[in-house]
Each structure stands twice: as structure tokens, then as C-alpha cells.
Amino acid sequence: VSTATVNTRFAPDFRAICGREHVTEDPAELQAWEILGVAPSLAVIPASADEVAAILRFANEHGLSVVPAGGFTQQQTGNLPQQVDVLLFTTRLTAVEHYDAGDLTVGIGAGCTVAQLSAMVAEDGLFFAGDPAQPERCTIGGLLATGWYGPRRQGYGGLRDYCIGVRFVTGDGRKAKGGGRVVKNVAGYDMMKLLIGSQGTLGIITSASFKLFPAPRQTRTFVALFPSAAEALKFRTHVLRSPLDPICLELVSPEAHQMLAPGSPAGAGWSICVRAAGSDTVLDRYRSELGQAVVREMEGANEQGFWRALEDFSQIASERHPQSLLVSMTLPVADVESVLRHLSALAEANRFSFAAIGRVGIAHLLVSLWQAPGAEASMVSFVNTVSGLRSHLPPDVSMAVLRCPAETRHHISAWGPMPTDMESMRAVKMALDPKDILNRGRFLF
């Protein structure tokens, strides 16, 4: 089915499902929603899980590929799609399913943005722990599907820890759910785990329930500065072995610090940024435990701005260096140092500069690499850098290339090897999306 045929043949069917004004086939408009250069042939904006199910059943009957979309903040990640028949926006699914401030739980439509949810619960002194880049655009559905997390992962856990329920439509158009709205629940399979980080390839999330947290009344950030990554990581280990329980524990490389807080004296070295919550007494304790290495303390708007910039690192780095790699790595805590050493050597050999941040108590690294000033522009060196990184990773590390220059896209796999058995993952995919409707070609298979 060519793109044009999809337009003319199926638009009326989708209009019958979602209503006239919620289907777009205007090529100019659709061009704005291109994914790695591939424009969708049609966009639909369903208003309910039933409509999502109807769309997916129709797509199954006709073999159409469907790309779920929220705020389009991470949509340029993944392998190149061959074609996008239907772009399905979840942005009209914004209803509050339940909000129980006293219980510290909320259930919300997948199309609600993280900023909207945060603002809603902030009125009751509560706090949603998800901290994606661009929260004003990032939707709850997109956050879950990408499994994205930021610095708060240290203190609050990840989505897999505080997402307590999910409703979704499987690739073959069945409405389903997992979990519920209570904080402890083992009835049925844990569907949340499968959907979180599934990159939209198993089902389209229509709503989800979360644990909320009491918003800290006061926070403070302590920045400790070191001449090398190794020394910074030694300090990280000191913090991890202390009784301290920080909200965030972030490594920031010199280049990253310059990028996020230009002119900051901390840009002179590798820093460990410790964010703590609590009373004056508690914060005093942090100060004394952290000791001499701390060169700077932040609070209030300064502190907010700093962490917001860290959360937006992927965006800021890509804007600063349009021709760059953005690499994300999950790894055992003890491997951070050797991976960074390897990264550094490889960057030097290929004449790249890099900026790295990481929640190094977890551990997760985000690295931006771009060609050093004066280096001869060469797409091959991007490809070599990625393969050089991948070929030396310790066991249990998984590495995704979230962004790369368009010219290299065909030569760089977005995902690379994973520690989890491929055939088992394929069995899950076949059980939920047997016709490979969802995000075809963009993730594992």
C-alpha cells in the first residue's frame, strides 16, 4: 500500500471512528510530524480507549503500521521506520481517572503532560516523581513507553517502582489492563513492567496510575568538584556508603557543566551534585558528611534551574551540537568508571569531544559526543565511535543511541545488544502485537 493510497482509501474509515476534525491527511501538516525524515500519511487523534482499539483493529485488518505519539519529545529515537501509515496521538486522553490526595495516588490519561500532572498534584503538596526532558510537552504515555527517567531516579525509584496500574490497547486491538490503583497489588501479571520502556511496540497506553510523594518542603544542592572522573566517582561511593539518602546524586562532566551552567566554576572539573531534602538540621548533617569537597551550594530558583537544565540535557546538547551522538547507557554502578575511561580514550582517538551526565548511584549515563573543533568532518567517525563503544562494554550494560546525524542513521543501530533473551522478548511481542503494527521496524524486531 503506497502512502497515497492509504490517504485516500482509509481516511473516511478513521473519520468514522474519531470524528471528522480528528483525522488529518494534509501533507503539509503531516510533514511537521516527520519521524527521522519519514512523514506519516495520516494522523488520528482518538478521544477514548475504545476509539484507540477500533483504530488498531482496523490497522490490523489492513496491515497498516501505527506510530503512537504524545508530545513528540523522544519521537526521533529508534531505528528508521520504512513508512508510517498512521500517526496516533494520545493527546486527547487526558481525563483524571482517580485522584486520591490522601492516598497519594493518581490515575491519569496517557495524553496528559507531565507538567500538567505535576501542577495538579502540587496544589495538594504532592509530587509526581517522573522527571523527563521537556515536561511541558512530554506526555504520561510517552514517559512510560520510553521508560525515561532523570536525576530523581536516585531518591524516588523508577517508573517500574511507582507506576501501580496501566490501561492499554494491545497491538491487535484488545483493551487490557494491569495492576490497579492501590499501592500494593499482586493480582494478575504485572503488565506495567512490560509496557514501561517498550517504546510503544506492545500496546498503546491509554491511562496509568501512580504512587505520588509528599513534595519536599526544602531542598538544597551540594556541588563537589574533582579534577578527574575517578576521584568524583570515589566521592560518589563515599556518599552511597554513608547514611545519607539524597534525592539526586548526579555526575556532571566538565563539558556538561559548561553546557548547562555556562561560566560556573564547577565547569573546571568533574562534579558530583548531591540534592538533599529536609529540615535545616538534616541539611546541616549533609553539609558535615559531605565535607571539604563541596565548592558550592544551591537553593531556590538557582537550584531549580540547575536541575531543570540537567533534566533537559538531551535537548540542550542536541541543540548545541546538531551533528552529534546522544548515547544512553544503563550499567552496574561499579562499571561507571571503566566505561567513562573507555569513552574518554575513544573520543580522543576519534577526535570527538563529549559531555556526560549520569545518575551514578543507579547507574545511568547520558553522553553527548560531537566532533572536536578542527577535526575533519567525517560521518564514518560517528559510526566508528558507536561501534568502538559497543565493542568494549562490560556485561550487563545496555547502550542506546538516542540521536545521531541523519547521514549515519542507516549505519547505526539505535539499540544494540541487550542482556535480556531476544526470543523471550519476541514471544511477548507476538502475543500482544502479532502483526507487528506498532512502531514497526523501530525497536527490537
Binding site: G102, A176, K184, P243, G278, M399, P419, T420, A431
Partner: protein
Amino acid sequence: LPVNLPGLVDHLRKIAGRDAVLDRPEDLMLYEYDAGIRKSTPGAVVFPQSTEQVSQIMRLATAQNVAVVARGAGTGLSGGSIPQEGGVVIAFSRMNRILEVDVENQRATVQPGVVNLQLSEHVAHLGLYFAPDPSSQKACTIGGNVAENSGGPHTLMHGVTVNHVTGVEVVMPSGEIVHFGGKAAESYGYDMTGFIVGSEGTVGITTAITVKLLRKPEKIATLLGVFESVDDAALTVSAITAAGITPAALEMLDGWTLRTVEAFCHAGYPLDAGAVLLIELEGLREVVEEQAIAVREVCFGQKAREVRRAKDDDERALLWKGRKMAFAALGRVTPSYYTQDGVVPRSQIPAVMRHIGNVAKKYDLVIGNIFHAGDGNLHPLILFDMRNAGQFERVLQASWDILEFCIQCGGSITGEHGVGMEKRDLMPLLFTEEDLDVMVGLRNAFNGAGVLNPQKIFPTPRMCREITGPTQNPVLMQEGL
């Protein structure tokens, strides 16, 4: 299907060794039940000593279409480890080694037969521990914890088993040995590790488990809030949550239960109280001290008669002794009791406690309550005597009534015990036919022939459309741990 049992047993002996298979009726009797009284006799019990042997056993069972169930210590309450009649039990008591303790990464890799508490004891000298702490932690195994996604008192702050497992080695029904995850907290790809935890042995058999080890807190404070009524204590639970304090544990004992417990183990609970709350706070010293003050204020704001704080480890241990010995204490006053495992949103605890009180009156039963109040996880204990047939029917009705109320409140039918055989026919109250169809499809993707732990979690087809009331015996607990 008729099974050539002698042939099967010979095969099993060839795989695991002559002394590693039981098939005499008097031996098999020991493997026909779990912590309840539901019984079903296996045809053979095999004790593998390696993953490779488990794989060969699975291959054999699949080839011969014999049902297999993995078994840890058999402390489960939902029938998860009950075999199919004549099937094979794979007992993990000989795969009980701690394979690795990785201090730098705060991970341990263990075989499934390692006893929960043994892991914490093994790493205690490093200042580390394994957080999930089911009441049966002196006996239950980590393999069983993984299968059931077990909880415990301290999961209020630290989460249940799934929040502490980062990687598993699994033998699939085909016999293939696969790995999910590893030492990293998360990795790219589908979270198969998270999926298999709590799948109640219906997807694969875990043969090695990588878990997080937590650092022991600097300070622990244990408080006992004493209340005139269950209602006041219940309101305090939601008030503590609403005040933004997350205790490490927040347990409630009602008056009847605390008197029964006190008579048995002298934990120091006041005999004339309507209910007590056992509240534990942990973390940085300064944080704990501030929270202890705040908790005390909340308790008194909800009409607490008294709030005591354990002065030292001995006093702390004594307060916990009452909680942990409760099930043993009950054994002295009743021939049998049925432990329920409902969950409600925390703000609904006062309502559900009133409802349980009404249910006890309505069905003329004694119902004690000792439970994980902080996360809304109820454990009503319904007393009965098996010899009294009419009473037994009322126990089932009462239990059904309580769980229905939990669901009406937006809750769940199980918080930590699992669905197993006990609650599979209640699943349609929580899940639509299509929800269940999706889950069954996932099970069948791995375990299509139903060789692995059949008849668990999912309702029998008849029950899918039509709910008529409890028709099956629940798992009945005679002696708790």
C-alpha cells in the same frame, strides 16, 4: 493423560541422581500441601542440584506432557506450589547456594532455594540486607518470593520483591535456559525480569536470581501507638500518610488479636486497648527523630491514648515479636483460621475495618485483624473449626463479602499472597474477559501446553462469564509462621 510413572521416575533419577527423587506415598504426602490445607498428591518429587538438571527435567516433562510445579519452602498461602495430582514437584532445597555477593554493586546472586532471612544474615557483616521480609522469612525461599512477588511489613518503604530483583536466570517450559536483565538497575528491551516476578511459576522457573542489597539504616525508631478503638487507629493510618510521612513499616493489631498475642508472648501490648499501631521509622538519624515527633503528634491528634517508643533493640525486638508471633499465637485459640489478603486505598481503611466488624457480626464469626496498614494491605483472620460444616460455609461467605468490599473501594483481592488456586475464580471481579485474555495469551506464549504450574492465577473457563459466589475451598491456614 496417563503417565508412565515408573518410567518417568527412572528418567528423573538419571537426571538428578538416585537419592534425589521421591516416589513413595509416605514421602509424597509431605509435598501435597503448602501453608494451607488444600491437598493434591504429586507423582514424584525431584531435587535438582543445578540449572542444567532443571532444564533436563523441564524437557522431559514437556516431552511427556507431565505437569510440573516449582516449590520452595511451601509457605505460600494461595496454593501456588500445590502440584497437579500425579504431577512432578521440582523442590529447590538442594539449590540453596548464595552464588555471589557483589558489595560494590550492592547485588547478590542466589539460587532459588536460599532462605530469605539467610541472605540478610549472610551479608549482615557488610552492613547490607535484603529488604523484602515476609512474615515467613525464616523459612520461605527467595525463589518462592520471586514467584509470588512477596511483600512483608517493611515493603511499605522499600517495595515488594519485584522492586529488588534486577536479573534472573530462567528455565523455560521448553527446557531452554535464558537470562533476563543483570546487575544494572534497568536495561533496554522489555522488562522480562519485572514480568516474571509475580508470574507465580506459570511462565518459567527461575534458577538464579540477582537481587539488590540495601544498606542498613543509620537509625531505627519503633513506636507503639495505643488506641481506644479500631476506628481511631485506622484514621491515624490515613492521617500519617496524608501528613507525608512514609514509615518503614506501619502495622495494625486490633484489640482481640493483640490480647491473644499478648497472652502468648508478652510483648507488652496493653490488654485493654481497642487497637495498636506498630510504627517503624528508619533512615538518617535527624530525619528519624523529626518523624518520630511528627508521628507522635499525628497519633495524639487522632485520640491515641498513649504512644510508646522502644528505648533499645531489646524493646524493639519485643514489640516486633508480638507482630511476628501472631500467627503462632492464634494457633492456641482456634483449630483453624483463614487468612485473607485484601487491599484498599489507605484512606478507606476506617471504612473497611468497620465493614469487617459488621461482617463478623453478620456471619457470627470471630475475625481478628493484624495487617500492613500503611499500604492498605488487610489480613483479616477468620477463625473456625473444620468439624463445624455450617461455620465453614459462613467463613467462605464472610471472606467473599470482605473482598467484594475491597474491590468496591477500588482495591484488590491480593496484596502479597498471590492468586494461585485460592483466588483464580475471583479474578473476573477485577479484570474483564479481555484483560484476562491478554494475560492468558502471554502465558501461552511461553507455556502453551500448560505443563508449568497449570490451573493457577486464571479462572476456569466456566467462571469467566458467570460469578455465582464462592464455590471452592479457599486455602485454609492451620499454622502460620
